[in-house]
Symmetry: C2
Subunit: 546 residues, 2 copies
């Protein structure tokens, strides 16, 4: 059971966490790294899509998404209609995309003697266009709400909405127009943008259909997040986070193979450090690549993992060597938070993310994640011939593994605990397993199973942590349960009509929002794209040979 705190509780908790953090200023930007990032700026490819249909949202109280979409007429028929002030219609482009909308707006019946005012609302899901955004109850900025109020002079005009949106649906409302003429919309076009250039084949027919579909929707999620960087969400945030990047990079190696985009992202982080040398949790690309003062300790460790996996997947050892000092520096800074007994201490001064689950104690999962990263650093050092730099790591790993077994393991319960209150969470078990801390696969499996079953364990709330639970299950021989978890989580999104996988999804309460208002949610989010990697690279769900 996931707890559902109120927006006020969340805002208060976030503020309390933020108050503890030390927002070190930006370090010196590294022009050489930023130059490499700039050289790798990809050209985006464009798919032009006509609306498939004009639809109406039908209330469906029993449906998790509250509405179903009913076709009124085909997209081709739109050019035969004329509209006047007060009218509205909903375009359906048949699937999710990231990009722009353009149309020709033409007066009918008479010359246009005034401008026209339109409200366009871009919807990833039916609730976006079926419900009013107001009153807005979210605690993040309402400036993210995906609508536009446009005033268009001098009709007829070919109009391209300047801002990029993430959408399948567009509600067009004629807010104000002169009574002397009507309006026709011609050449309505969605310009779907992505830096993905290939289209991988579907998984073979021998896979169950649900797996083939989850795989496809994973890829669509990744594709729509692949712009000039791996964005976390094309609707909202639209920035590059380390944690999302790792999952996107993995999914990419199994599908689109835009490896140079991974490289660009690694250089962007390297080019914009914090003054203590840690990479930012996220960076902004525009208006110029910018340091974001959100540093995330677990993400800094995952930067090293992502670099190691990039070198392994691409064979690009040169980048591994070039960015090696950055990775080393992450571990140096992070290990300052490990005490003499080998236990990671979460002071709160640098944020540990792990998951959005309310009240989650981050110390034990971060402890384990550091061990996971140290092991990957050894692999990276070996592959690029820098073993001498990490000679202290094996002893640190041994110390931290021992400390976890000794101080964090509750042998009677068969669970790893976190923090002074010995909190039990799925996050802790998953990362302990991924860090190979349990003495045996049996101990590992029991820890995960116990946490997933116990009512008092803090459960995952983000697809991001769901991913790590699945990855941990695969690491300790729980293939069947891993597949069941993917089915019950990503499969459930698919069942309720997801075109892309969401930022936040609670199967028991599908329309919950971590922001206090579902209209602030993002329905195409990088960190939920990993199933395609689980299927294609990890062999999850692969049918037995006949």
């Amino acid at each position: 059971m996931t707890t559902n705190p109120t927006p006020e509780e969340i805002a208060k908790a976030v503020a309390a966490e933020e108050a503890k953090r030390v927002n070190l200023p930006a370090g010196e930007a590294v022009p050489a790294f930023l130059k490499v990032a700039k050289q790798l700026l990809p050209e985006l490819t464009e798919r032009r899509l006509a609306p498939v249909a004009i639809v109406a949202a039908q209330p469906q109280p029993d449906h998790p998404l509250r509405f179903s979409m009913q076709t009124l007429f085909s997209g081709r028929q739109l050019e035969q209609k004329s509209w006047t002030e007060g009218d509205h219609f909903i375009l359906d482009f048949g699937g999710h995309l990231t990009g722009y909308l353009s149309f020709r707006i033409v007066p009918t019946g008479s010359v246009a003697d005034s401008p026209v005012r339109l409200r366009l609302t871009f919807g990833e899901v039916p609730t976006d266009v079926a419900e009013s955004f107001h009153p807005y109850t979210g605690w993040i900025s309402a400036a993210w709400l995906p609508d536009e109020l446009l005033t268009i002079d001098d009709l007829p005009q070919l109009w391209r909405v300047a801002r990029r949106h993430a959408f399948r649906y567009v509600k067009v409302e004629i807010v104000a127009a002169s009574r002397r003429f009507g309006l026709r919309f011609e050449q309505v076009t969605a310009h779907a943008m992505s830096s993905a250039t290939s289209e991988p084949a579907l998984l073979p027919d021998s896979y169950p259909e649900w797996i083939r579909q989850v795989d496809l929707v994973s890829q669509n999620t990744l594709r729509d997040c692949m712009q000039t960087c791996f964005e976390d969400g094309p609707r909202r945030d639209r920035r590059l986070w380390v944690g999302d990047l790792r999952l996107q990079a993995l999914a990419n190696y199994a599908t689109f193979r835009a490896d140079s985009l991974v490289k660009r992202c690694l250089y962007l982080f390297a080019g914009l450090p914090r003054s203590d040398g840690l990479v930012n949790g996220c960076v902004y690309e525009r208006p110029v690549p910018t340091y974001a003062d959100t540093t995330t300790l677990d993400y800094a460790a995952l930067y090293c993992v992502t670099l190691q996996e990039y070198v392994e997947a691409s064979g690009d050892q040169e980048t591994g060597r070039d960015l090696w000092p950055v990775a080393l520096r992450q571990m140096d800074v992070i290990l300052q938070n490990v005490d003499k007994a080998g236990v990671f201490i979460d002071t709160g001064e640098t944020w540990c993310f792990i998951d959005w689950a309310f009240g989650l104690d981050k110390s034990a999962p971060t402890h384990a994640l550091i061990v996971f990263a140290l092991r990957r650093m050894l692999r990276l050092a070996e592959s690029i011939g820098r073993g001498e730099d990490v000679q202290a790591y094996p002893r640190m790993i041994e110390l931290m593994v021992g400390a976890a077994r000794q101080h964090l393991f509750d042998a009677s319960a068969g669970l790893y605990t976190s923090g002074p209150a010995r909190q039990i969470s799925c996050a802790t078990q998953a990362w302990m397993v991924l860090a190979d801390i349990p003495e045996s696969p049996e101990v590992a499996q029991r820890a995960i199973r116990n946490a997933m079953q116990r009512n008092d364990a803090v459960k995952p709330i983000t697809p991001y942590l769901y991913h790590y639970i699945v990855e941990a299950m695969l690491a300790c021989g729980m293939e069947t349960e891993a597949l069941a978890l993917v089915k019950s989580y990503w499969g459930a999104m698919l069942d309720i009509g997801a075109d892309t996988f969401w930022e936040a999804f609670d199967p028991l309460d599908p329309l919950t929002s971590p922001y206090g208002d579902i209209h602030a949610n993002s329905y195409c989010h990088a960190w939920s794209c990993s199933p395609t990697w689980l299927f294609r690279a990890k062999g999850l769900g692969r049918p037995a040979p006949v």
Copy 2:
């Protein structure tokens, strides 16, 4: 006393008038004329203005404009302030302008982690920015309301508002912004655009100060309407009307001398005729020069007058000869509406404008206006050597003058009447005098005085008709009353703080609107710019030599 009908009454009356009209289709465009117009497209000059002050609107129930503006701090201090969601401020650029707004919007305190949503409201007068536009009660499109809802991504950004506005004030509201950062506005700049390139000297000190100011405000009105054509109002409508053009052209000859802009406008009308050959009452320049299906019979006659005056002012006989067939065609078509007795019959099929005064009978003033135009056609024919084309005109003038004296003059009242109900209006007297129909100046003066004084006479409602009353007064030796009328009308606008002269002004009810909502009014309108011509070209108010 001006009657103030309700918006519903006005809308109904307009609809009834429109129902009677015959909207003939566009005639064939004349590419040769449109080519000349295109060659004359002027380059606009730009003045860059910083805000003079940040102001607050103070309610002033006794003031005709309901608010006064109080300075909060100087424009230079704006860059020291930081703003957050829910804040607003009002920029004052110190005077009216037509153009664009740009600013740099910069996050303060932290990196911008979200877009910002702003509402900008462009105000020509305090009521525009001091009051909400909603609920809007006007009967013309709310799309004209001068506000913009902007969402700006990727701060810091240098932002230029894409749409042109007419304004002195700009209210900036921070509708939505993340709580993580504040907002600073830097380099706030108004880009004032005009095709006027000179700045005439003020009238000499020997003139009364009010005349010097009315002259200046007239020029500012004209300047802000002078764009790529002589627009009627830079805030609303923004099109080229014949009636406005005549007054703008006259004011221009006395001030900016952008004669080639007059020529461009004459060619635009000539290039876009109605199928019966009449010029349109107005044309649109954008997206391409376009026929507007609003043909105005009195304006078609004034086209001839405007051409004659252009040739006289500029000496450009070549244009006079080139457009002569167009002018001839206007009179040919118009004279089809004059019966055998020499009386103009207003069938309603082609609109006669004359004035917006509610219930005004247009037949007699239009009759006189046609005579006025015929006389000017004789002058034009003479100046370009085409007398043979107008040999029938003197007899037609004689016939129409006689008919007016015989059928329209009420000798006992000393007034000209209009229509079967023998309506008395100021409009009728003014045009009779301008057409030189009265037997003597005494008859002329008495007619004007009588109409201005009688309660049952339909009074003028627009500056446009006020102009013609003043012009008529000057034509029959009523200099003192003409000056008094300018003072009581334009001077009254000046007294209540007009930076430019308005589209509609009733001294007894300054905030009345012909559109049912003062927020639909235009406060810089071409047809109110004529006092500068009255002073400078007609000698009105000229101080006696010492």
